[in-house]
Symmetry: C2
Subunit: 207 residues, 2 copies
């Protein structure tokens, strides 16, 4: 699960408070403050330093997370041991291995912090209770799933339709600040090319 953010990045002063999440929810569904606090009351602030793994494949995903500050990547190893990046998540994104989280099955994904990262986390039990108790949480997560579905459709079509160079140009246009935050080898792994070929593309585009 990798959900789109709908808000601009904000400063580090918000770390460990729930204002960013409240704004994110209010942007997507009408909700009384009493119900908002039911949701935020079940969130737990956590911190992961750069390079920490939040999840390894085969483990069980016990939480999903909303990013207050920082950046993570979600990736798999293929049968050759090569890493492939499904997504990057940054401020105002939810992320986690939702299949593992919901079905209580071993995770398919690895998740690693690419920067020092502050998140709000929800446990499986709290997630289920929120779905049962707060109808706006059902609507909110429904819209998150729907938007992720849309962005995945776009990603699939870009993979089918464009050359590596075009995909890189579109990546830069869609995420102009990310290249300053993360390493090129991870971008290459997201684009589905080798770091060597990305390096060639960059040289070609510059000159």
């Amino acid at each position: 699960m990798i959900w789109r953010r709908t808000d601009p990045v904000r400063s580090i002063s918000d770390i460990s408070n729930v204002e960013a999440l409240i704004r994110h929810i209010k942007n997507l569904v009408p909700i009384p403050d009493g119900h908002l606090s039911l949701i935020t009351g079940r969130c737990r602030a956590q911190y992961f330093p750069k390079k920490a793994h939040l999840l390894h494949q085969e483990e069980f995903a016990k939480q999903v997370h909303f990013i207050l500050q920082g950046c993570v990547r979600t990736y798999v190893f293929d049968y050759n041991g090569v890493e492939h990046t499904l997504s990057f998540s940054m401020e105002d994104y939810w992320f986690g291995d939702l299949q593992s989280f919901i079905r209580n099955t071993p995770a398919s994904f690895n998740i690693q912090a690419l920067e020092d990262t502050h998140v709000l986390s929800i446990s499986q039990r709290d997630w289920e209770e929120l779905l049962a108790e707060v109808p706006e949480f059902v609507s909110y997560t429904r819209i998150l799933f729907r938007n992720t579905m849309f962005s995945h459709e776009n990603r699939i079509l870009q993979g089918l339709s464009y050359t590596a160079e075009e995909r890189y140009r579109r990546f830069l246009a869609a995420y102009p600040t990310l290249p300053q935050r993360i390493s090129q080898k991870h971008i290459a792994s997201y684009l589905g090319i080798t770091p060597e070929f990305l390096s060639m593309l960059r040289k070609k585009i510059k000159g």
Copy 2:
């Protein structure tokens, strides 16, 4: 939007009745019969002969559809005029250009019947009213979105991780009956390869 079916294909006798949809809903959410009939009451049976287009890109998607019998493909033209198939949908799948349908924007997708196809269709207005009136419809579509999100994650990762031959083998394993229903050029377009190369792969795999 392309939602996974959760039921086996059934015979042509079910065409134009709502039993298949009722079974599909009951499989995903608990729902009283009174609420079921609110949903099915807003469905309209439609028939599209093989090769008919249900939607062209730039048109506005006025409906989404649940397949009772038949098969459709959802595809785009790239900047070179080459077609790329996002998905095939068959019995017990929902399909449509949901972004266009929900946001009332021009469609990005073309949708074409690959067989004579019987569907149940819901209009934008009925969709919205069902969301407002029937809480189980919110939960049902939430799970449909979630499952589509999961299958899109898998599709993205397969595109990044596997060669064309491996993707074809996995396609055959996942959809063993589809190759008898649709043409190879559409399978090639779904796999992201040329029909010529798919033909080579088939020769190689057989011999």
